[in-house]
């Protein structure tokens, strides 16, 4: 077997490990092993890459230097990445993932740039000793190499800048507080997209011009920025998933550039994963992908809050709610992102502990878009040592609400709005929601009656079986716990 065959075999093993890693992600215990196997696959692929002909020839020509440089660059990156991963708080996971996606995209751009540069200079230097093996004619137009290089440059640049903007928005940097809502933005984006496609065709037709490639990267960067800027905070989960998918597709495209199947396989697995999560998020928010990317929320006229709430909202004190909770056999807590903002996860757990000590069953109902990225709320609650088994998904827990004595909604709004089920005119009509209104009593902890992301009133707050507790999430939960303990 030639050495290239051994290298390819190593890539094959790495690819299989990646697939197994994804497969093991189906449970929290097996997922730990999956993560290790994924890392092992990556280590194997990276080690195999060191035996590729170009690297070996570099070592033959220059001794240990190329390896030292590779270790320095790779080691520095790994150290920074690991330090970030150990330090970042769990509430900031969406930002961190966005940032990492961005680096992946940028890396793909640089791989494409390096290959393009190498290929171009190879053609010029093919008479040099040792380089004859690489001898290539001038780069032909519209080859796999040319098209893949252009695609990698474009997708990678869009990923990098899109991710940076997403990071700014999620980190709530002042400059990104308001989405970009210039009425001409669609035309600007359209013109930019047309120009980008034209330049991409140019790179494919003339891969010998490095400048043209640079222009494409610049246009891709602009496009990534202007496409992400108008997207509002509530739609960020979709954007994160989409960028995740792009970073994978950029890696797959880079695989086409260097004719390498492990890049193609790993890249397309990630691409598929991101696309699935994007679809799930869109579905959970009842929005089309096109709507998220190009629309703002539709501004249909709806009943104003005053009409819905007039005279029907019952406000309760901590003592009153504590009495209701004392008589309950089964309590379901519905956490929303507001709970994470108020850092109330640990307080909620203490409340649950107190209730459980009295023999009450406590479970948590998690809506798919609770939090700022898919599955985010689960991580935040797991961090507060809430057992995984008690975190129940929407479809699983919805049938149990009629047998629930008290549902406590903390910092959630649109995802418990019965209008989605009852009112076909509502902007959120058809959106899957948690049926908390079917519980015997609903306690809603909220600062005020202000609307959620969808900007519509919530009839749940005015329902007969709803008690409103107006307070900051964390303080409310602490007061409730104290009130129960006093009895």
């Amino acid at each position: 077997m030639s050495s290239q065959a051994w290298i390819n075999l190593a890539y094959l093993i790495a690819s299989m490990l990646f697939i197994v890693a994804f497969k093991l992600m189906s449970g929290p215990r097996t997922a730990v092993r999956g993560n290790f196997l994924g890392a092992a696959g990556m280590a194997i692929a990276l080690a195999a890459a060191l035996f590729e002909a170009p690297v070996q020839q570099a070592i033959a020509a220059r001794g240990a230097w190329p390896v030292v440089l590779l270790l320095l660059a790779g080691g520095a990156g790994a150290a920074i990445g690991a330090a970030m991963a150990l330090k970042y708080p769990m509430t900031g996971m969406p930002q961190m993932v966005a940032l990492l996606n961005g680096f992946g995209g940028a890396a793909s751009v640089f791989v494409a740039a390096a290959e393009l540069w190498n290929m171009g200079t190879r053609a010029l230097q093919s008479d040099q000793p040792g380089m004859a093996a690489f001898a290539a004619a001038e780069l032909a137009p519209w080859t796999q190499f040319a098209i893949a290089t252009a695609l990698t440059g474009l997708i990678g640049a869009v990923t990098f800048w899109g991710s940076l903007v997403a990071f700014g928005k999620l980190e709530e940097l002042p400059r990104f507080k308001k989405p970009w809502t210039d009425p001409n933005r669609h035309w600007i984006n359209l013109a930019l997209a047309a120009l980008t496609l034209l330049t991409m065709a140019g790179v494919c037709a003339n891969p010998n011009s490095f400048l043209l490639f640079l222009l494409l990267v610049v246009l891709g960067s602009l496009l990534g920025t202007t496409l992400t800027l108008p997207i509002g905070g509530a739609d960020m989960p979709v954007v994160i998933c989409l960028l995740n998918s792009y970073s994978g597709l950029a890696a797959a495209a880079a695989g086409f550039v260097i004719d390498n199947s492990v890049l193609v396989i790993a890249g397309s697995l990630v691409g598929a994963s991101g696309l699935i999560l994007t679809a799930i998020m869109c579905q959970a928010m009842n929005r089309s992908l096109v709507g998220v990317l190009f629309g703002g929320l539709g501004t249909t006229t709806v009943a104003s809050g005053d009409e819905v709430y007039a005279g029907k909202v019952k406000s309760a004190s901590a003592e009153e709610i504590a009495m209701v909770l004392e008589g309950a056999d089964r309590v379901v807590i519905v956490p929303g992102y507001g709970l994470a903002v108020a850092q109330a996860q640990h307080a909620v757990r203490e409340l649950a502990d107190v209730l459980e000590a009295r023999g009450t069953t406590v479970e948590y109902a998690i809506h798919p878009v609770a939090g700022r990225m898919p599955g985010h709320m689960n991580v935040l609650l797991a961090e507060a040592d809430i057992p995984y088994e008690k975190l129940r998904e929407m479809d699983d827990i919805n049938p149990t609400f009629p047998e629930t004595d008290v549902a406590i909604v903390i910092g959630a709004n649109d995802v418990v709005n019965p209008s989605a089920r009852n009112d076909p005119q509502s902007p959120i009509a058809g959106m899957p929601i948690l049926d908390v209104d079917k519980a015997r009593t609903v306690v809603v902890v909220k600062r005020s009656l202000s609307p959620g992301f969808a900007g519509i009133p919530n009839p749940l707050f005015a329902a007969d079986n709803t008690l409103m507790y107006f307070a900051d999430g964390k303080k409310a939960v602490l007061d409730l716990t104290a009130a129960i303990q006093k009895h």
């Binding site: 994804f22 790994a78 640089f110 791989v111 390096a114």
Partner: protein, 114 residues
């Protein structure tokens, strides 16, 4: 489904066809089959693990580091190697950050029995 992908991947380790179109179609086959495997496997991941799934897949998208090593090694030109080294640096942030943060999250889902 996994076994049916094996012969195809093994075929990849065999001789690479010299006809560019044949080479492209071989790689395209790998791409589409891997996409399909991805869809099959990932739809089975429960919602509560979607954040670790995202960060873990994020780490795997750092596979571009392999391309970076090959590109940096080809010391045909100092610029090419420089781009390759920058790519490797960036990709390794992604790889290490992704795997470590996924590990950290999964530890929270599996608290040590007291």
């Amino acid at each position: 489904m996994l076994p049916c992908l094996m012969p195809l991947l093994l075929a990849d380790a065999a001789a690479v066809p010299s006809d560019p179109a044949a080479r492209f179609i071989r790689l395209l086959t790998v791409f589409l089959l891997a996409m399909w495997v991805g869809f099959e496997v990932i739809t089975k991941v429960p919602q509560r693990l979607h954040t670790p799934l995202t960060s873990g897949s994020n780490a795997i998208s750092g596979i571009t580091a392999v391309g970076a090593i090959v590109a940096a090694g080809a010391v045909v030109s100092s610029f090419g190697s420089l781009f390759g080294l920058v790519a490797l640096f960036l990709a390794m942030i992604n790889v290490a950050g992704g795997f470590v943060v996924t590990y950290r999250m999964l530890q929270m889902f599996n608290p040590k029995k007291k």
